[in-house]
């Protein structure tokens, strides 16, 4: 063993100490940042609940995987003061306990953590995208339940009303002749998620009065994973939700099938900035804004 230890120590020890020093410096800086204003201290593992909380004007004190939230949900933005709890599936319990939240909000996906979390604070399990239920109704209920938890029911009413009236306005702005749309997200150069029943995009399309060209089956999360060939023959315009995975655009440009699909579809594909496809009202409104803007931009050209 000692033969291993000696060179290792020499090689590793110095950079290790340097990294450690940097780490503590960063930590000290973090701790120096101003404390949160007095509010019910909420913690949530679910990004959908988190975005709802932010939109209600009561941002959570702690969220799991903050960096990934910023990369994949993007808006509404979390305050800088939010504490990162670590992985969504395995939030750091010691840290969570030390924050002494007044409540912890989860979704059914994390239900197996409930007994553990309940030792820290009361847990609310908020469901969305239950099979067989109308997504929009569920989103409204989720918003109201979250608002009740933060004791601001009026904020929920306001959020629901502004979102619905905004979507109505956006819907009116669209031409009569908007073709059916096919909302997809690329997984690799040969497979897409196509969004349909029981999903966020479908709910938004319904409210905007646009037909979704995908009538095939979807899973519990409102999408089906299909090879591109499954999209052929659908009379629709393509909407691609970003991001494109690395190294997908080039092979796609070479793909005969994709070229024909684009050629046969109703107009050039629209490309939208990333939207959290399993979100609630804020993501729904963001998707609607981006979609209508893209459709209008295209008409203007």
């Amino acid at each position: 063993m000692s033969a291993l230890r000696r060179p290792l120590r020499r090689r590793v020890a110095r950079p290790f100490v340097a990294v450690l020093a940097l780490f503590f410096a960063a930590l000290a800086l973090l701790c120096a940042s101003p404390a949160m204003a007095a509010q019910p201290r909420l913690a949530t593992l679910d990004w959908t609940v988190a975005e709802t909380l932010v939109a209600l004007g009561t941002p959570p004190a702690a969220v799991a995987q903050v960096d990934a939230y910023r990369a994949w949900v993007k808006a509404p933005t979390l305050p800088d003061s939010v504490t990162d709890l670590g992985l969504r599936t395995q939030p750091n319990l010691e840290l969570l306990a030390s924050l002494a939240p007044s409540r912890i909000l989860i979704s059914p996906m994390f239900a197996n953590l409930t007994p553990r979390l309940e030792r820290i604070a009361p847990v609310d399990n908020l469901s969305l995208y239950s099979p067989g239920r109308d997504t929009w109704t569920e989103m409204r209920e989720l918003t109201r339940r979250v608002a009740d938890i933060v004791e601001r029911p009026e904020a929920a009413t306001r959020l629901i009303e502004t979102t619905e009236s905004r979507l109505a306005t956006l819907g009116e702005r669209l031409d009569e002749g908007t073709p059916p749309l096919l909302v997809v997200q690329f997984m690799d150069a040969r497979h897409v998620r196509v969004f349909g029943d029981n999903g966020l995009y479908q709910a938004v399309l319904d409210r905007l009065g646009i037909t979704n060209a995908w009538s095939g089956t979807t899973n519990a999360w409102g999408f089906a994973l299909v090879p591109i060939e499954a999209l052929i023959g659908l009379d629709a315009r393509l909407v691609v939700v970003e991001p494109y995975p690395a190294g997908v655009r080039t092979p796609l440009a070479d793909s005969g099938l994709w070229q024909r699909l684009v050629a046969e579809s109703r107009g050039a594909p629209l490309t939208l900035a990333p939207v959290w496809s399993f979100g609630a009202l804020p993501s729904a409104q963001r998707f609607a804004e981006l979609l209508v803007a893209a459709l209008e931009n295209d008409d203007a050209r």
Binding site: N219, L225, G233, D254
Partner: protein
Amino acid sequence: MPADTLPHPSSAPRRLTPGRACLLLGLMLTALALAHLHAGPGLAEGLTALLAAPGSAADTLVLHFAWWPRLAMALLAGGGLALAGVLMQQVLRNPLAAPTTLGVASGANLGLMAASLAAPGLLALGREWVALAGGGLAMGLVFLLAWRRGLSPVVVVLSGLVVNLYLGALAMVLLLFHQEALKGLLIWGAGSLAQNGWQDAAFLAPRLALGALLATWLLRPLRVLELDEAGAKSLGVSLKWLRLGGLGLAVFLTGCVVSVVGIIGFIGLAAPNIVRLAGARRLGARLVWSTLLGALLLATTDQLLQRYAGILPTLIPTGATTAALGAPLLLWLIPRLRLGGESPPREAHAVGTRHPAPRRLAAGLAIALLGVAVIAALAGQGGDGWQWASPANGELLQWRLPRLLAAAGCGVMLAIAGTLIQRLTANPMASPEVLGISGGSAIALMGAIFLLPAPGNLTLVGVGTLGALTALAVLVLVNRKSGFQPARLLLTGVAITALFEAIKAVVLAGGDPRGQQIIAWLSGSTYYVDATSAGVVAAAALLLTMAAAPLARWLDILPLGGATAAALGIHLRRARLALLLLVALLTAAATLVVGPLSFVGLLAPHMARLLGFARARAHLAGAALVGALLMVLADWLGRQLLFPQEIPAGLVASLLGGAYFMWGLRRL
């Protein structure tokens, strides 16, 4: 050795020849294809769609740009993989060598993952090169591991398994922290044959043709490998370069196929073996028939899948399906292989020197364990940085103590299981993970998470135990006839692990958000432990350790080989079955807590040996202490390194264990 390890030709049905097998599959494929065309636009139009870009009719468009290229791709990929399989099996003189069993695919997988996170620019340049580099490196590693043992069949396959597990663990870390960014690669990892144009087939065809040409050119020199070493040398052939050439070609072929369509399991293993069992002996015949059979096998499977799985809302990738179908084939094959009988293993000499006072050494280890445990219990980061908690801080300790206890308990159990299995098989690379018991319980747990609505932890534990017991039953059933001969036992583990990998790939490829939970559990964390389960784990560790202690005499004798042990009056079959049962219990109990991917069972017995615990009883005690020390350390490090994110203890342990393993190569 070479003649020994080939499947016994006389056991094959006489009527089946390679030609007839291909004809049968070919007819089936043609029938399926014709049925598909007939159901679509009709035969004539379907055939024209092969040649010319059609008009705008949807069904002919799909035929031209997706269906025909997919058929071509299935034939090409199947042929290429089978060809690579024959080459590997010929060079390594090992009927169980295959592109996936030797780590090429998992290396390519890890390479692509790392590239898409750290250097996406590389992927734009060409993912085949990234995949090829990763695969080549992994295979190189496998050879390094097996080199000192003369690339003997069982050692090569086991090294492949260990490398597969290690690279799989690394891929798991990446997946755990970057699931959203890597979801596309999960589809690739499950091997989907879907096509969207002719460009991929056009990429693959010339490369495979080149490979086939080179294989023909190597045909005569490669035949020399059928002779024994001395005979080959007397013909003036450089064995080293010949092997390198043959394997290099195999890796190139595999890399090309894998980079285009993803990981396709078992075609490269199955086709050459079927052809051989059907009576093809000469290398030339085996090359030709295997390539043909592999192509037809993959294409037929794919046609069947397209026909019957198309209705599901989720993708059932062909590659993982063939792998899942291949596992039973391997299980069937194992009793039909000749593996060199009960001769004592070559490296039976002890590694490490015997410590003069094992008791004092053990006491030292125990004190070290206590020290680490105190640090793990009291030191840690919180919201305000590093803290040293007071021992009376119940608020904090309620989280830490159960994990500490469970980590130590699992460490002890895996270490003892590892010691038992290494002594039982006299194989330094054996570990409980390798037996497939972990894999069995993992398969059951994945099923529970996906099929049951919001399963509680108690349900998961029950289901996991059931899975472990099922795996054990398979082990016993397959190996009963051979009297639980060690090499066969380990190969059974390889098959079960392959099945687990295939199922995991299918489950994760669908992109269901619940996949996160699977990944979190598979990566082996003490996270889900509470006071009750920690108590149960500790009690199980204590009880099973006490059960293992009286078996020390068997463990001292069994590594000397079957004949010696029998001569000394040990009832081999009964002893092996009893030890196996104990190993299964230990592994199942530990796996349920820390997941299937830890190397502690491999590592702890080794380290105990190196420290100087030589006799079985001392070895058991030493390994248990080392195992507990390792797991407690891994658990604590995992919680601190990326705070507040937690790297699961199992993964930290595998990373430590893997590093140790590479270092230990020099001694093996």
